[in-house]
Amino acid sequence: MNEIDDLLRGIETPDVDVADDVARGEQALRRRHRWQISGAVASVAAVAAIAAALQGGLGTSGSTAPGYAEQPSVAATASTPAAVKAARQRAHHRLLTVKQRMHQIRRQMEGLTSQKTVQRYHDVLAEHLDPTGTQLRLAQNEQGGGGSFGTKLDWRNGGMLEIVVGRGFAAAASFYDLSSAGMQDTTYGGHPARVSTSGSDLVVSARHDDGTVVTLIASTEFGNNGTSTNGLGLTQDQLLEAAADPRLQLPPYLR
């Protein structure tokens, strides 16, 4: 098909100076550099704004903010690849700082939430076991791990009422030697439950409708404190009733 080949090769091409193509390329290159710098400046400004908003909102100290406002103007006047790279590195650094700050904030939020949860545990248990409000006190204690959460409360000034909330009967095993308590299956309110059959402590576990398992451990000794009082004045039935209360839930960040 030489005729077709001849026709294709015969297509006349415009007489264009290569310098024009190079000039157009140079123009596009400069345009791209400007976009890169604008993008870097915008990133830095956005990150600085977020960081400022976060720090301003929480009013915390230890800021790494000084100099944020000045950075964009420095980058804005730069036009070399080195300046672009530097601006990118600064933006990356700011982003890391914000990520670390976000992590801190999340931890703080969890801390606030867990304090609230401990307070709720205390209030619910007091409602069942200490209606007069004379026996049960908060003890600045939190326990957690493996998706479980709990606290030790002071009972009668030296005794201990420990609560562990988790997703199974084994959840409390991380905090208490359940095998020493000789836990035995039973039911409470139609739901599976377990109660201790040996040892000096009273231990009960009750499972809720949603699968949450609440374990209560009443002991005459508060952990390492060594202060003890005789006669807790509690029964397994009382503890089971309290453990079955549906208001005893994991903190929101563990659900």
Binding site: M1, L8, I11, T13, R24
Partner: protein, 162 residues
Amino acid sequence: MADRAGFSEYVVARRPLLFRTAFVLCGDPHQAEDLVQQVLTKLYVAWPRVARMESVDGYVRTMVVNANVDRVRRRGEHVGLEAFDQSAREVDHDGLLDLRTALRGLAPGQRRVIVLRHLWGLSVEETAAALGIAPGTVKSQTADALGRLRGLLEPQREGPAR
């Protein structure tokens, strides 16, 4: 501009071929020149990376094809020579009209095969690899395209339409 060394030489060597490629794909000399300029501008920006590639030609060919696809999408045109108008018919003196009219009758896939086989001189296997189709399909599309072109060109040359 030192890192763009070799760009000018490449353009001097390949610009005519790139223009013809664009012309066969889009069917209009003005649009073809726009496509080539657009592709070469992008190529200049990417040259330090492209120059290291094994097949610069293959990369640039793909750029031309994609640029034409973008053009068609942008303007809502069909892939063909619908933009062909009567005024062009009147100023054609060199057989370009025949070719434009004939190319109009080809399917987009047939035009791409013609570009690679007859403009770039690729083998059936190379064309198949470039287009991601079977060699048999290349052969059949080439035969169909050439037959169709032949059929479309002959009557134009014989008739008094021009």
